[in-house]
Symmetry: C2
Subunit: 127 residues, 2 copies
C-alpha cells in the first residue's frame, strides 16, 4: 500500500503519516527498492491505533514513548501498563470536563429556546 492509499484509508494527510513515522509514533514502514514506503498490515494497524489515540487527545510525546517501550519487547509490559493507566486517568478527567460543559450547554440552549418561544421574556442574561 502506498502512502496516498493509506492516507485515503485513514483520512490523514500523507504529510501527517510521514511526520508520525519520522517522530517514531509508528515503527519504520517497509520500503521498496526505490525507497518508497510500502505499508503492510502491521504498519496500517499502527496508524489506526495512533489515529484513535490522537483523536482522544493523547500527546505525540506519550505515544512516542509507548511505541518505544513496545519495541523493547515484553520486558516493558509493566511500564506500558502504567503509561496506559495514566492516559486512562487523563481521559476520564477529560470526559468529566466535557460532561460538565455539555450540561451547561444543554441548559443554555433550553433557556434560549424558552426565550424564542416567548416563555421567558425577561430573562436575566448571564454567561
Amino acid at each position: 500500500m502506498t502512502i496516498s492509499e493509506v492516507s485515503k484509508k485513514y483520512n490523514l494527510t500523507a504529510d501527517t503519516i510521514r511526520y508520525y513515522e519520522k517522530e517514531g509514533l509508528i515503527p519504520k514502514v517497509p520500503r521498496d527498492k526505490n525507497g518508497i514506503r510500502d505499508f503492510d498490515e502491521g504498519s496500517c494497524g499502527w496508524i489506526e491505533f495512533i489515529k484513535c489515540m490522537r483523536s482522544a487527545g493523547l500527546e505525540i510525546e506519550t505515544l512516542k514513548q509507548y511505541v518505544s517501550l513496545f519495541r523493547q519487547g515484553t520486558a516493558t509490559v509493566k511500564e506500558r501498563k502504567i503509561l496506559l493507566i495514566e492516559q486512562r486517568e487523563k481521559l476520564l478527567k477529560k470526559q468529566e470536563d466535557i460532561k460538565a460543559t455539555l450540561d451547561r450547554l444543554n441548559y443554555k440552549i433550553e433557556k434560549y429556546e424558552e426565550i424564542e418561544k416567548g416563555k421567558l421574556k425577561d430573562f436575566t442574561e448571564k454567561p
Copy 2:
C-alpha cells in the same frame, strides 16, 4: 478583586486572564482610578464560564464570537443558540472518540494484567 486573587480562585495565570480580556473572551473588566482591574461578580462569572468551555476544548475564536453576540443583546438569541448547538455537536463527537479510546485502553490494560499474572504467556503483540 485583583487579578491575582481571581487567578488563584480559578487556577488560571494572570497572563491568561489578561489574554482572555484582550481577545474579547470576557467583557472589559472594570478598573480603579489607577487603571488596575477590579473584578466584580460579573467578570468572575465570565471567567468561570470561559474556563469551563475551554476545559472542554471550545476554541478561543468561537468563545470570542459568543461573547460578541451576547453583548449585542437579545436580538442575537437565535444566533447564539445555533452557535451553542454546533458546539454541543462537537462535544458529543469528542465524547465518542474518548469513549472509543477508553474502551481500547481498558482492553489493553486488561491484557497487560493477564500477561503480568502469567495467564497469557504467549501474547501476540499488536499495537
